[in-house]
Subunit: 222 residues, 2 copies
DNA sequence: TGTAAAATCACCCTTTCGGGGGATGGTGGT
DNA sequence: ACCACCATCCCCCGAAAGGGTGATTTTACA
């Protein structure tokens, strides 16, 4: 974005100025990178963010006041095309998981070599997911620990908000619908007429912007 | 396990015998590996499993009758120390996610080079998580799509087994059904007649022991 | 206290579903 | 060779779902 496919603009957010100086030197020596400054203070970074533009952000996780994790979403919102690499000494499951949940594109440990860092930035730029080997292991471990069955791999609309906008009666009807009840069964279960049930369902469909049971239930369960 | 830190015993489960022959040649040429046979039939493999011992298992995902995914847990139960690498042409989110959820240690695409395969096996052996680059990206993408806060929720989930007993065609139909497609829409999407769709759906309902869309979808989505 | 939203009911009409038959061809395993 | 299963297609039929329009009564809340 900044320079087409020519240079890669990089911004770092790192409270350890010694380390960010190292990063800077590494990147400037290799060329192809444009070091567009670094922030030692994550709060200042966030306030400056709207005016920034970079291809890749390098974020430290442990910083005073604000975790680098909190910066990820902001960056992604301002610059959806930007890549975010976390750089940290920590390889706790918790940090790794949070980073990726929040949208990080990669995760490097601070013991990574200059070559690895350079390669990781390039990798991120081409849509890769650079990770230090031990991080990759963590990620797999985390996935392996998720209870099978519950992983909500649902990218699409899934407007959960819409479901919650339903009235209590409508929710009740929708849940019975999801259990496979027929209109007549629902009517008798909640003691209303068949036509009332149909009206509720029509309203549910309108609110959820769906056309039939299947879509409505997918929204509810999905 | 088999030979201390000397040799690495490998067993493959791969219906494509040509490809497993390639694997075998690659590993035997490099040395350090002991090719302990391959299975073209996953069912036979599972029955033989209790007598097997290997350091690394290479599993294909798409095989007749039984997915390689179904083998992972069995292997891990019989041989907790063994490493399991999936080898597949598929990089769908769904397969990748399922593989790691079920306990896979790595995931390679079939276009991986011999060197990459050899390196991946070594990596897995030392506790790494070898993945083809595009797979790493998928994994990160999957994590990024999890709603923050969803790392262990979701309760019920009845007979998931039943859903998995469906044929591939039936699963396909059921998924389209869950997306709210009408029978006629499904028919044109998968290019079969309306009656065929109806037949599939009747069979789905019979296998899942349900009576309508709503119940079937609820089973599918958990 | 007024009014908007929720909840209730009614009538009519068309399309979709669900289930009952039965049939053919292909594949895989015993 | 046979059987089980899969995938495909056909006919028929009644029940269920969905959608339009309009209405009345509660309920909630500004």
């Amino acid at each position: 974005m900044t320079n087409g496919s020519d240079q890669i603009t990089v911004i770092a957010v790192e409270d350890d100025t010694a380390y960010s100086a190292v990063l800077r030197r590494v990147l400037e020596q290799v060329g192809r990178f444009r070091w567009d400054g670094s922030f030692a203070n994550p709060v200042r970074f966030l306030t400056a963010l709207p005016g920034l533009h970079a291809d890749v952000f390098l974020l430290d996780i442990h910083m005073p006041r604000l975790s680098g994790l909190e910066c990820i979403r902001e960056i992604k919102q301002c610059l959806p095309e930007a890549r975010v690499l976390m750089i940290s000494v920590h390889d706790d499951d918790d940090y790794v998981l949070k980073a990726f949940l929040d949208g990080a594109d990669g995760y490097l440990l601070k013991d990574s070599s200059p070559d690895q860092i350079v390669e990781a930035i390039h990798d991120a730029r081409r849509g890769g997911a650079p990770m230090s080997p031990s991080i990759a292991r963590k990620v797999v471990g985390i996935l392996g620990r998720l209870q099978p069955g519950e992983t909500a791999p649902k990218p699409p609309s899934s407007s959960k908000a819409a479901v919650e906008a339903l009235s209590t009666r409508e929710t009740e009807v929708l849940e019975l619908l999801a259990k496979g009840r027929r209109y007549t069964e629902i009517a008798s279960e909640i003691s209303v007429s068949l036509d009332t049930v149909k009206t509720h369902i029509r309203n549910i469909y309108r609110k959820l912007e769906v056309r039939n049971k299947a879509e409505a239930i997918s929204l509810l369960l999905g």
